[in-house]
Amino acid sequence: MAKRVAPHVRTFDVAIIGAGVVGAAIARELAHFELSILLIDAKSDVGAGTSKANTAILHTGFDMVPGSLESRLVSRGYALLRDYAREVGISFESCGALLVAWNDEELANLSKIQEKAIANGYHETYLVGVDALYAKEPHLGSGALGALAVPGEWIIDPWSTTLAYATQAKSAGAILQLNTRVERISQSAHLHTLHTNQGEFEARYLVNAAGLYSDVIDAEFGFEDFVVTPRRGELMVFDKLARSLVSHILLPVPSSMGKGVLVSPTVFGNVMLGPTAENLSDKRATESSIAGLAFLQEKGRKIMPALLDEEITAIYAGLRAATEHPDFQISLHAPQRYVTVGGIRSTGLTASMAIAEHVRDLLTTSGLDLGQQGDLPAIHIPALGESGVRPYLNDELIAATPSYGEIVCHCERVTRGEIDAAMISPIPPRDQAALGRRTRATLGRCQGFYCHAEVRALLENAGGAL
């Protein structure tokens, strides 16, 4: 277990900049050992950067560049996260993917992708003929010619993943420092000093998991190994009443710009359409664009026309931390006692736990003495997915705590009991979006028509903002 530090202590064995899924996973991994750990993020919540806005697929790594670091970490991360999700109660569904070919070229490509999957160590793919394809997905638009099935591609709850890592790290003694932006870093012989808007923190070892800003942090050390280009991915989420239209993740045959536009169920019982892929210069450009939304609707209409008749409940955009290199940019700068974790572009959710192991090993080679390994405190994350029994359907739970039968957010069927529990959890939500990531409240079809005011009042009473 991590070394517990007194509240006033500002010097740590390891500091991690960035509490996205990657930084949180690293904090959790290091929390197994006798280290004092500081996890810092500029935002008011963990996982509030790119980690909150992705397509939430647990990737097998079948289409990675064989032999790359990403290939290795995605396939290892897949197994680790799958087991972890089972252990702590993160929702996932083993729906599998179908890579749908819409023209002869794509059809011919399927067998090449199958070979690539084997080169990546994934052997379970198989070709699906056109009739079998439409039998599996009767609402698929017309014109598909066949598919490659990748049964191991699953969907997972991305929000609870980051939250679970951070919660477990915190329960093990790591210090989570939110609302804290690292503005400058200075070095002395044995310590890094992080100058932040909340004063100074010191650390013997430093991990840069700053996502889109990993190049900016690197620049503090004078490193120019890569430049992060935010690659925007816009997404649309359709109403739960659309869920029965689709059973698998429907992937396009990949192109060089990314994985292309997919239609996928979500563990929350919605259907997702997206993402786009567009290189930008502004690292804050998470707005959606008129052109992007029109493009998605056009693509969606081809992949699954019936989907477009359903209501859209959410639209958002995530920024992939793309670099000029095709692979993850993870490197140890031993003399500086510093590890950069950059370029975690489109697979960071899946790879997170494997990245964390890798970073742990890099820190050890640079001389960090981890001390004894211990067990982390067991945690349990409230399951937000539709595959389990939600609280409003759990008669025993309601009998014990009637507020679990009091639905506040009607569209997502979130009860007061769940909201109350989130408010007193180890990492409580500070705004409506954060509460949404913990409970799904206000994320449904009415977009607050019914419950916005009530949820806002609950948050304001608990000391949060709107």
């Binding site: 359907l393 039968g405 028509f449």
Partner: protein, 311 residues
């Protein structure tokens, strides 16, 4: 889990559902139960504090909460039961519905079921509006609850999207919260309300109605800072800190669809005959669940006349 039975189960305690309950009791049905998922019955009028309710059914005009209170007390006087904080979650039989509430799960079987689940305004995402996702975005429904039920801080300058009856209700609600309405936008050539209503509110509250104007994008990071619009003269940014999406109704049809009732492609409401019967025997639909949108008194009259027509 509890199991129960009634003669008539009504889902939704808005004007339509409550009026139907009263009429059902008056026509002699003995066990009539209304299910309402909110803590209080009354439906939308519960949080609609401006005047304009009751003309056709109660023959006097009053504000929404008063109107709702009238219907609630009439319903209780009639001997019908209202179960609040109770959600009808799904069908478990032809005319059996599963409920959840702080008292636990329950399955109710009824001879007849009336769906009166109402309609809501489409929000920003459902209208596929591009831009940032800052605080300060409402529908008229959520705005009214924030202002009247919770007295929450709103902002200072608002733009209203849509120019139907309900949009004028948004103007009045904003004024009550000391928020200036700077513009009301509609992509149509005219507003879609009564002229007196428009002229009255426009004169009193001094906003500009911008016809043939389309909302392109929402601006602002943490808080709305404006909207980019397309007018006949070109693009323009209107500065504001609040955006209210009004009208553009969608029926709350989840239960109807989960039950596999036949639905209209156009209105997305269940299809009913002149007796308000849906495609399933013994299951009826009334009120704003059946679009186009109606005023509360029309919904209530639909609820009360259902019984005289049918049973």
């Amino acid at each position: 889990m509890k199991v129960s039975g009634v003669d008539l189960l009504i889902v939704g305690a808005g004007p339509a559902g409550l009026a139907a309950a009263i009429a059902a009791k008056q026509s002699g049905l003995s066990r009539v139960r209304v299910i309402e998922r909110e803590r209080e019955a009354g439906g939308v009028p519960r949080h609609s504090f401006h005047t304009g309710y009751g003309m056709r059914d109660l023959h006097r005009v009053m504000n929404g909460p008063r109107y709702a209170a009238r219907y609630i007390s009439h319903t209780l006087d009639s001997g019908a039961e209202i179960s609040t904080s109770t959600t009808a979650i799904d069908w478990v039989g032809e005319r059996t519905i599963a409920l959840t509430s702080p008292r636990g799960l329950e399955e109710v079987t009824a001879d007849r079921i009336i769906l009166a689940t109402g309609a809501r305004e489409r929000g920003r995402n459902a209208r596929v509006v591009a831009g940032t996702r800052p605080a300060g975005i409402y529908t008229t429904g959520s705005l009214q609850q924030s202002v009247y039920l919770r007295h929450q801080e709103i902002g200072s300058r608002a733009v209203i999207i849509g120019a139907e009856h309900v949009s004028f209700s948004a103007v009045m609600t904003l004024a009550h919260a000391n928020v200036e309405t700077v513009a009301m936008l509609t992509s149509e050539a005219h507003h879609q309300s009564y002229f007196p209503l428009h002229w009255g509110t426009a004169l009193r509250y001094r906003y500009s109605l911008r016809t043939k104007t389309e909302l392109l994008e929402i601006l602002g990071r943490d808080r709305v800072s404006g909207v980019r619009v397309l007018t006949p003269r070109g693009e323009e940014v209107i500065e504001c800190d609040t955006v209210v999406f009004s009208a553009d109704w969608i029926p709350d049809h989840e239960l109807a669809r989960r039950g596999g009732l036949q639905m209209s492609d156009v209105t997305k409401s269940p299809i009913v005959n002149h007796l308000h019967e849906t495609s399933r025997a013994g299951v009826y639909a009334i009120g704003n669940l059946l679009l186009p949108i109606k005023s509360a008194d029309q919904c209530a009259l639909e609820g009360s006349s259902l019984l005289s027509k049918n049973w």
